[in-house]
Structure formats: structure tokens, C-alpha cells
């Protein structure tokens, strides 16, 4: 972990924070030696002289003096030593450049591949990062390194370069074509002015033919023109100038696991550019996919990744056959052009099955079908095996299959011999159909044919006259033998198809079941934390990996869930996670960025319609520190990530929604409070003020009493406001104190004398009522508010009853008035804050706070309170229910005497 190559997370974080991209200028050449580097350095010097802060990131002068002369005077950022060394002076030191923060960096050879252990495998990725931090970059590139032209160039130069630059890079760059006539270039080559690596000399001799150079030059000029075109188009698009697109062209390219599929993808890209059409690379999963070897899976994944790099969308859909799947997809995608490769299958195979191309053309109506030759074989990449080794198990089956087939035939032969006396010869031939069909249906074509052969031999030898020989006397019997073989062929075909469908269905249902259970687990999560933990646990279980989930924050990503539990990650992992968040791309082991990390991080993106961006990043790693994921599990991971993102997005949405609701509720309360305060404060204040004014002129006891009453009312209201504020602040210290309910009732009656004037109080609290354990102050306030409320609504002159009853499991303390009662159906609503019930007499003066306080205080003490109506006499009854655990058992007299 202490290698010098370890990328600096700080630099990454810093870069991520920067806004505004730098501009890229590419000096594009048709071939090495046209003078791209020279041109770049010259222009760099001009910029420097114009006052721009220019440094050289990396320049290969290849010892040429004219080029070296231009380097002099430029500040050069020294290169980073590469572990293992060997590769010249080392790689461009991206961290040093980010540290130095020039305005413009000169970076030679954009297509260069970095030494392993670097932050990015490719130099263009370094450049992307520089651009992302707002630094301008000049770079050089040869046309043969452009991804989409790779095949074309290889087809006529017979040289395939492995270092390619995605077209997307060119499309965002200003392109200057460095052009010299082919003759001049050939002269320069002869003069030894063109640098060619020693080992490539022979291969390159053919490359520099005049016809090749002419073609390359044309390509370069065309590509540059295209880039300008694309930029223009982008501009038009950005400014919503529609109408410049070719109408509705959509291209679908079908890709297979074979290596020539990459050529198809590049061709699709070129066609899409020419037609300015969106395009999709689609892989049709058929039963064959289950037989893929790892290399084939990887090839397929590479091909789809290439399509994605070239700007196409990619998808994989299961179907019974390629034609069926492609047809269904192209209809769904409203494709206008389909590109498929010419099959590399044998002539015989195509005769027997009909070629995919033929059937496709017949099936698909007015869609143009482009069939491209399988061009990959002639320019195959070095180091790749020529042909796949022939499959053994899948076609020929296991030896055991043949043994079973033979045994079945033998069994029929034996039983046939035993039954010979009883049944006719022809029926014995029918008997032989049983083992043949069994073998063909169960073990496939070859085993079926084998069984058919064995059956016909057995039939011939043991039953057909002359028995004991393999000769056939009667020509009719030849037909029996042919029928047996024919049945084997037909049955095996049906059997194989059924089996394959079943296999596919099983795989697919396994995946679907996994996805369904995943989705179920996610739905069950009630909070964000729970959801994240569920995502981690489920992905870990389904893919057999370790998982972590990080959430972006201003202080960098932080770990919010993990399975198995994990509490820290290394700097490099944090850096990779941050990178994945910033770039919305996978990072870490097995991706293109920060591969030194043990973990692979995939961003969880919010749906494009929301503004939440990346919701989190899921990291996966293997217990044994191996590659995080098998390639065939990639589609499953993608589906899981999709579902996880949707679930997280939904949760975020719900939280926002709840916040909005809560804010709405707060606003409602606030305005209710304001109106209540203004009403309930002003009314008594107005009375007090006018009474005091009046008293100055006319000293009267009545006026003084009015002032006193209103002041008390004001006091009660303010007390309630304070109580409510304490409840809402959540700052209610609850005391547990032994309380005599009789004392509590008497105290409350004492304190509400003013509002209970004119009402007799009937105290029905038995002297032997057990003591309870409650907060005396809260209980007191509950009771005075209930009494207050009763005094407000009871008919004048009627008594108010305080009654305590014992139920088996509680004490019920009620305040009962004789008044209009509570409107039907409003028994619960009376306890809501600022509810003043509509209808009849219930809208009398009052704060609307009192009963809400009763409920809040009761709940704070673990009590419940309910409102009900009584009929005889009519009135309201409010009951506080004190549960048994709050009741103190009677105390032995002996203890106290």
C-alpha cells in the first residue's frame, strides 16, 4: 500500500470540487511523423508568450533536435517513477500537475496506455481528469487510434493498434489536423526523421505505403470535419434548434459473443454518426448463452462496454431465438436499421437451420438489414487464441448417457426375447422406440442416434430373420431400422429444445426470484438506514461478496451501511468512492479508475427527473480479495443496483414529502396559534383596559371585579401557552410522586374557583381510593383544564362532578358536566390543538388549548384521556384512565402506627 504510484485522494477530492471544465485541443495526424508534437509545442510556446501559464505534462521528443529545441523554455512537470521501471522516463505525474495548477498542459500521445499501477489505465483518462479540474490540455493523436476507425484502419493497413481513444473525447475537443502530403512523409521516413519503435519496424514497413497514407490522411480530414459537425450539432441541440436531425433513424446492432462483434459495433457507430441517429447494441440471450465459457462472456461484456464507450446504449434481452428476440426488440425500439454480422457457421448448418439473416429479413418488414462480414478473424489481436477449443461435454454429452441408453436398449431386447412367443415381430420394433425416444429426449441427439443405432442392430441381430446375424432378408425390415433412427433424430430435436427452454427458464427464474426477494426486502425497510442495511445484506447474499454503502456528504463519502459490518475504509477506497460519486461511473477494482482499490464501487443514481444526483455508492469486494465480480453476474448486479437506486430514490422522495407535510402542519399550527393568541390575549386585555379607564372616573367595585376576573383568565391562558410550549419543546421532566387523588381533586377545585362560580362541586372520590404514582404538577394541570372546560360549557347552576371509579385494571378519574355535550363524532377531535368545535354552544370563549394540554400531559405520564357524552342528565364526561402500574398497593397499617 505504500507504493509511490498510489494516487492521492486529496488531489482527487480537490479536483472533484472544481467547477468548469478545461478545453481540449487535439493535434490529429494521419500517421506518425507528420509533426504533431512539433506543432503542439510551437503553439504552446505562442500561448506562453501571450502570457498563459503553460507546462509540459509529457512530451516524447524521440531525440529529434528540432522538437527538443522547442521544449527548451517550457516548464516541465517531472514524470512519476513507475514501479518496475523499464518504460523510459515514467508516466505523466497527474498529481504534480494538479498541484501545480497551470492554465494549460501539453500532453503528448493521447492514446498512450499507462503502466499498471497508475491511477487510470489510459492517458486520455488522465487528461479527462485534468480537464475536469478546469485545466486546458493540448494533446496529439494519430487517426488510427480513434476507436470507431480502428477496424477501418486495420482493414487496409493490416496493423491493429490496441491503444484506442473513445470518439467521445474527440467530440468534445477542438481538432487541428496536422497534415503533410504522403510523399513528403515518406521522404521524412527515409531520412530517419520518423520515430518507430525498434520492435515494430517490420510491421510498420507496409504501413507507410503511399496508398495507406493517402487513405489515412483522408480519414483524418474526414474525422476532423465530423468532429466539427458533431460540435455544431451539439450546439444546435443545446440551443434547441431542432430540425437538423435526420428524421427518426434508429440503429440496432446485434452483437454476439464472437470477437468480430466489436467490428459491428464500430460500424454501427459510424453509421449512427453519419445518420445522426441514436443507436443500441443488443445481445439476444438464447439457450446457447448458458454454454458460454468465461472467455466468451468476457468478450461479450467487452463488446457491450465498447458500444457504451462509443456512445451507444446497450441492452441484453432473453429470447427463444436470435431472430425472434431481434425482431421483438427492433419493433419495440422502432429501429429503422439493423446491423448484424454474417454468420460464421458452416454451410451445412445454415442449410439445415436456415440462416439467421434469411429469417430475419423475412420476419422484419420495412427495416433495412445490413449484413457485415465477420472481419475480425484476419486482424485478430495478438496473444489471443486462434479458435476456441472444441466444446466437449455439451455436444457429445457424458459417457454415462451412452451407458444408460445402451442399458435401456438391452432391457427392451431381453423383454422382447421373453415376449417373442406372445407378440408379433413388428410390435417388437415398436417396443424399441421406447429406449430410443428415452435416450433422445433425455440425453440429446447424439445419445439418441446412438440408441437408435443400438436398437436397430439389436432388432436386426436378435429378432429379424435370420436371427443371430446382421443381414436383412426382407426389405420391409430396412424401413423399421430407418424409422428407429428417424425417431431418434426427431425426438432428440424436440427434447433438446424443451430442455434448453427449461434451462433458460430456470436460470431466468432464479435471477427473477433473486430480484423479487431483493425488491421485497427493500420494500420492507421502514427507514433510510434500514434500507441501506438491507441493500448491503441482500447484495452480499445474492452475489456472495462483502458490501459497503457510502453516502455523499460535503465532508466526503461516509460509510452508512455494510455487510458484514465494517467500520472503516482505507483512503484509497474513500477516494474511489468519491470518484464514483463525482463522475457517476464505477471506480475501483475491475473498473477503469483507481484500480488499486480492493473494492469496486458502483454509484446509485437517482432517476434523471429528480435533482438528487448520486444517492450513494455501493462497494463490493470478495472475502479473499479476488476480483469482486464474475462477469456473468454483472447483469444481475446491474439489476440489483437499479432496484437499490429506485428504492433509495423513493425513500428520499418520501422523506421530502413527509418534511413538506410536517412543515405544512407546523404552518397550520402556527397560524392557529397566532389567531388564538391574538383573540385570547386581546379580549381580556381590552376588558381590563376599558375597565381601568372607566374606574379613573367612576370608582366601582364591579369594575375592579371585572378586572380581576379578566386578569385571572389572562393568567390561565398564559399558563396554558407556557405549558404547550414546554410540551412542544419536549422538555417535560416527569416526576413520580405518590399522590392522593382526593388532594389532587381538591387542589384543582381550589385553583378554579373563579371559573366554577355558580356550580356546585360534587366530589365522588372514595376515602379508600388507592394512592397513585404520578407527576403532581402535570396531573393538577390536567384537572384544572378539565374543570375549566366543564365550567365553561355546563349550564348555569348545574353541579360539576369529580368521580373516581375503580375498574379491574385501572382507576378512572372523570370530570362530568351537565351541558350540551360534545357534538357527535367529535369525541376525539376535541383534544386536538386549537380545535374549537363548531356547532351549538361549543364555540364559546376559550383558548382551544386546554384539552390539548390535558391530552399531552396525560400521555406524558402514560395515561389516556377520553371524551364521551352522557344522556341522563345530558352532558360531557372527560375521563383520565390511570393504569394499574401507576396504582400504589394499599400500605399495611402496622407499618405506620
Amino acid at each position: 500500500m505504500n507504493e509511490p504510484s498510489r494516487p492521492s485522494p486529496e488531489a482527487l477530492l480537490r479536483s472533484a470540487a472544481q467547477e468548469g471544465r478545461g478545453r481540449l485541443k487535439i493535434f490529429l495526424g494521419a500517421a506518425p511523423g507528420v509533426g504533431k508534437t512539433w506543432e503542439m509545442l510551437t503553439e504552446g510556446r505562442q500561448r506562453r508568450e501571450a502570457g498563459v501559464d503553460v507546462v509540459i505534462g509529457v512530451v516524447e521528443t524521440h531525440g529529434r533536435q528540432e522538437t527538443e529545441a522547442l521544449v527548451v523554455g517550457h516548464e516541465i512537470v517531472s514524470r512519476r517513477a513507475v514501479p518496475g521501471g523499464g518504460q523510459g522516463a515514467g508516466e505523466m505525474d497527474i498529481d504534480a500537475i494538479l498541484e501545480r495548477r497551470p492554465q494549460l498542459v501539453l500532453v503528448d500521445e493521447l492514446a498512450h496506455s499507462n503502466a499498471s499501477g497508475s491511477r487510470h489505465p489510459k492517458r486520455y483518462q488522465d487528461v479527462e481528469e485534468l480537464l475536469a479540474t478546469g485545466i486546458d490540455v493540448y494533446s496529439t493523436l494519430n487517426i488510427q487510434h480513434v476507436e470507431s476507425l480502428n477496424d477501418v484502419v486495420a482493414s487496409f493497413t493490416r496493423v491493429r493498434v490496441r491503444e484506442t481513444v473513445p470518439d467521445g473525447i474527440l467530440e468534445q475537443a477542438e481538432i487541428e489536423v496536422v497534415d503533410i502530403p504522403p510523399d513528403e512523409l515518406i521522404d521524412r521516413l527515409k531520412d530517419g526523421k520518423v520515430y518507430i519503435p525498434h520492435e515494430a519496424t517490420r510491421a510498420l514497413a507496409h504501413f507507410f505505403s503511399k496508398s495507406n497514407l493517402t487513405a489515412l490522411r483522408e480519414l483524418a480530414l474526414r474525422r476532423a470535419a465530423q468532429a466539427v459537425d458533431a460540435q455544431m450539432l451539439e450546439h444546435l441541440r443545446a440551443h434547441a434548434l431542432a430540425g437538423t436531425f435526420a428524421a427518426g433513424e434508429r440503429i440496432v446492432v446485434a452483437v454476439s459473443e464472437q470477437d468480430h462483434a466489436e467490428g459491428l459495433v464500430r460500424a454501427a457507430k459510424r453509421m449512427a454518426d453519419a445518420l445522426r441517429a441514436p443507436w443500441t447494441a443488443v445481445h439476444i440471450e438464447t439457450q446457447r448463452d448458458s454454454n458460454f465459457r468465461d472467455a466468451e462472456r468476457l468478450q461479450l461484456a467487452d463488446t457491450l462496454a465498447l458500444a457504451s464507450r462509443l456512445g451507444g446504449s446497450t441492452t441484453s434481452i432473453p429470447a427463444a431465438s436470435v431472430v425472434e428476440g431481434l425482431h421483438a426488440f427492433s419493433v419495440e425500439a422502432r429501429a429503422t436499421q439493423i446491423i448484424i454480422g454474417k454468420s460464421s457457421r458452416s454451410w451445412w448448418f445454415e442449410k439445415r437451420h436456415g440462416s439467421v439473416v434469411d429469417r430475419l429479413v423475412r420476419t422484419i418488414g420495412d427495416v433495412a438489414v445490413h449484413v457485415l462480414p465477420a472481419g475480425g478473424s484476419s486482424v485478430r489481436r495478438a496473444g489471443q487464441p486462434a479458435r476456441h477449443p472444441p466444446r466437449t461435454s455439451s455436444r457429445w454429452g457424458k459417457p454415462a448417457d451412452y451407458v444408460w441408453s445402451l442399458l435401456a436398449v438391452a432391457a427392451v431386447t431381453v423383454s422382447g426375447r421373453l415376449l417373442l412367443e406372445a407378440i408379433e415381430l413388428g410390435n417388437i420394433a415398436l417396443l424399441y422406440l421406447v429406449p430410443v425416444m428415452f435416450a433422445a429426449a433425455t440425453f440429446g441427439l447424439r445419445a439418441g442416434l446412438f440408441a437408435g443405432l443400438a436398437a436397430s442392430l439389436g432388432y436386426n441381430f436378435f429378432f429379424l430373420p435370420p436371427t443371430g446375424t446382421l443381414t436383412v432378408n426382407n426389405p420391409e425390415n430396412v424401413i423399421s431400422i430407418l424409422v428407429l433412427l428417424g425417431v431418434a433424430v426427431v425426438t432428440s430435436q424436440f427434447g433438446a429444445r424443451v430442455r434448453a427452454q427449461a434451462d433458460l427458464a430456470r436460470t431466468s427464474s432464479r435471477q427473477n426470484a433473486a430480484l423479487a426477494s431483493f425488491s421485497r426486502q427493500l420494500t420492507a425497510a421502514a427507514s433510510r438506514d434500514e434500507l441501506m442495511q438491507a441493500i448491503c445484506a441482500e447484495v452480499a447474499r445474492l452475489l456472495d461478496v462483502r458490501t459497503v454503502l457510502l453516502v455523499p456528504s460535503s465532508a466526503g463519502p461516509y460509510l452508512s451501511a455494510a455487510f458484514p459490518p465494517e467500520d472503516r475504509l482505507d483512503q484509497i477506497e474513500i477516494a474511489a468512492a468519491q470518484w464514483a460519486i463525482d463522475n457517476e461511473q464505477p471506480a475501483g477494482r475491475g473498473s477503469a479508475t483507481l484500480t488499486a482499490s480492493d473494492w469496486l464501487f458502483h454509484p446509485l443514481r437517482a432517476s434523471s427527473s429528480s435533482e438528487r444526483g448520486v444517492l450513494g455508492v455501493l462497494g463490493i469486494a470478495r472475502e479473499d480479495a479476488g476480483a469482486p465480480l464474475r462477469s456473468d453476474l454483472l447483469p444481475l448486479l446491474m439489476s440489483l443496483l437499479d432496484q437499490a437506486s429506485i428504492a433509495l430514490d423513493r425513500m428520499a422522495l418520501e422523506e421530502e414529502h413527509l418534511k413538506t407535510l410536517a412543515a405544512g402542519e407546523r404552518d397550520r399550527l402556527r397560524s392557529a396559534l397566532l389567531s388564538s393568541v391574538s383573540h385570547d390575549l386581546r379580549t381580556p386585555l381590552t376588558t381590563i383596559l376599558s375597565a381601568a379607564h372607566e374606574m379613573k372616573r367612576n370608582l366601582s367595585l364591579d369594575l375592579a371585579t371585572t378586572i380581576e376576573t379578566e386578569a385571572l383568565r389572562l393568567n390561565r391562558f398564559i399558563a396554558n401557552l407556557l405549558d404547550m410550549a414546554r410540551i412542544e419543546a419536549g422538555a417535560l421532566p416527569i416526576k413520580d410522586e405518590a399522590i392522593d387523588l382526593l388532594d389532587a381533586a381538591a387542589g384543582a377545585v381550589d385553583d378554579t374557583r373563579a371559573s366554577l362560580q355558580g356550580h356546585a362541586i360534587e366530589m365522588e372520590v372514595a376515602p379508600d381510593t388507592p394512592l397513585v404514582r404520578l407527576d403532581p404538577v402535570l396531573l393538577h394541570h390536567c384537572l384544572i383544564n378539565l374543570l375549566d372546560n366543564a365550567g365553561r360549557y355546563a349550564h348555569p347552576g348545574t353541579p360539576i362532578t369529580i368521580r373516581c371509579l375503580r375498574s379491574p385494571d385501572a382507576l378512572l378519574l372523570s370530570v362530568i358536566d351537565q351541558g350540551p355535550g360534545i357534538p357527535r363524532g367529535q369525541e376525539r377531535r376535541v383534544f386536538e390543538t386549537f380545535t374549537r368545535l363548531e356547532g351549538s354552544d361549543r364555540a364559546r370563549q376559550g383558548t382551544g388549548l386546554g384539552l390539548a394540554i390535558v391530552r399531552a400531559f396525560a400521555e406524558a405520564m402514560d395515561l389516556t384521556v377520553e371524551a364521551a357524552n352522557r344522556d341522563d342528565p345530558q352532558g360531557a364526561c372527560f375521563t383520565i384512565r390511570i393504569p394499574a402500574r401507576r396504582i400504589i398497593m394499599p400500605i399495611e397499617d402496622g407499618e405506620l402506627s
Partner: protein, 234 residues
């Protein structure tokens, strides 16, 4: 004929000070005033008041700190003024030696009644009337003789202990802790529920209507007092 007593009002709100002063003057007491703890201590030394009315919320010092100082250095009766919610504060002040408390907002009649009780208890200290009468209940502490409506009432040892605590300072609030400290010498045995049960038993024996206690009043969350205000003779 009322004896002219000196009352020191320690309160930072001038309006409340002047109101109290008016009320005191009505009953013939002379008042001096202090707006801060600092002033209060000065007045205390110079004026030698008989009663101090002390607001616990003072600008320069916690009023609670003044309670022991006042009790230690003077023989004045001390009545504290406190906000409604602060029952701990009241208990603390009482346990520190304050004679009584009154809750803001209060009416002046109530304050005057408390002052009267405090003054009486102050003068009763040492000599005093050995027999306390509350309604038709008469409590003769030295003789340990309690009668209700002329008939003798028998109390248990602990009932008497509780009642005697209240009767020593009739009309003054006695905190639960103060009562229990006398009734249960062993601290581990002091439980408010025991006290409540004893008070309930006392009420059964002394009150005419135990559901409307007129002899032993409950001060919610603080303590008990012998109700003297109901006695027209007081």
C-alpha cells in the same frame, strides 16, 4: 390594634414593589424596598425588618442564595415569591429555612395572610399559645390532647407526630421532607406515600367532610399546612 411591623420587599419590578407597599400600608406595616440582592443585604442590616418578602428571580444574584444568609443573620420571617412552575425552587427555599412561599401572580390579600401567619409564628416561637384551634378541632401539643367538637380524638404515634409538625407552625407550609424527618428518624423509611396514608387517616379523624379537607391543606408537590385562613378567629 395591629403592631406596626417593618417589611422589606426585595423585588426587581418597581410596579410590584409599589403595589406590595400600598397593600402593606393598608394594614399598617412600614415597608422598605430593594431591587437587587446587593441592596437587599444593605437594607437588611440597616432596617432590621420583621418580615422579608423575597423574589427569587433577582438580576444580580440567585434569590435562593439569600435565603440562608437572611435566616442566619436576622430573626425576620421570610416569604419567597416564585413562579408557578418552579415547585423544586419553592421546596428548596422552604428547606433552606424560608417560612412560606407565594406564587406569582398572587393577590395582595393572600400575601397579607401569609405575612400575618409568618409574623404570628415568629412571635409564637419560644413562648406561644400551646393550644391551636382549627375550626372545631383543638390541638393541645404539650398535653398531647386533640379534640374535635369537644370530643377527644385518639391518634396513633405517627399520626400525632405528623399533626404536631403542622401544629407547631399553624398556617405555614411544611414540606414533606420536613415532616418526614421528624416522623421517621431512619431516612430509609421516609416515603411520601406513607405520609399520604397518615394524612388520609388524620383527615378521617379530624375533618368533618374528608372529601373537602378544611383542617389539613395540601400544597401540591410541596407539603402540607394547617389551614388557619378558614378560622374566622385568626
Amino acid at each position: 390594634m395591629t403592631i406596626r411591623n417593618k417589611v422589606l420587599v426585595v423585588e426587581d419590578e418597581p410596579q410590584i414593589r409599589s403595589l406590595i407597599q400600598i397593600a402593606m400600608a393598608r394594614t399598617g406595616h412600614a415597608t422598605s424596598e430593594a431591587g437587587t440582592a446587593h441592596e437587599a443585604l444593605e437594607r437588611l442590616r440597616k432596617d432590621q425588618p420583621d418580615v422579608v418578602v423575597l423574589d427569587l428571580g433577582l438580576p444580580d444574584r440567585d434569590g435562593l442564595e439569600l435565603v440562608p444568609i437572611i435566616k442566619r443573620n436576622t430573626s425576620a420571617a421570610l416569604i419567597v415569591l416564585s413562579a408557578r412552575e418552579a415547585s423544586e425552587e419553592k421546596v428548596a427555599a422552604l428547606d433552606l429555612g424560608a417560612d412560606d412561599y407565594i406564587t406569582k401572580p398572587f393577590d395582595t390579600d393572600e400575601l397579607l395572610a401569609r405575612v400575618r401567619v409568618a409574623l404570628r409564628n415568629r412571635s409564637a416561637r419560644g413562648s406561644g399559645d400551646p393550644v391551636v384551634n382549627v375550626g372545631d378541632v383543638s390541638i393541645d401539643l404539650p398535653e398531647r390532647k386533640i379534640t374535635k367538637g369537644g370530643r377527644e380524638v385518639h391518634l396513633t404515634r405517627r399520626e400525632f407526630a405528623v399533626l404536631s409538625q403542622l401544629a407547631k407552625f399553624p398556617g405555614r407550609v411544611i414540606t414533606h421532607q420536613q415532616i418526614m424527618a421528624q416522623v421517621w428518624p431512619n431516612e430509609a423509611e421516609r416515603h411520601v406515600e406513607y405520609l399520604r396514608v397518615l394524612v388520609r387517616a388524620l383527615r378521617q379523624k379530624l375533618e368533618t367532610d374528608p372529601q373537602r379537607p378544611q383542617v389539613i391543606g395540601n400544597e401540591m408537590g410541596i407539603g402540607y399546612r394547617l389551614k388557619m385562613d378558614s378560622n374566622p378567629a385568626a
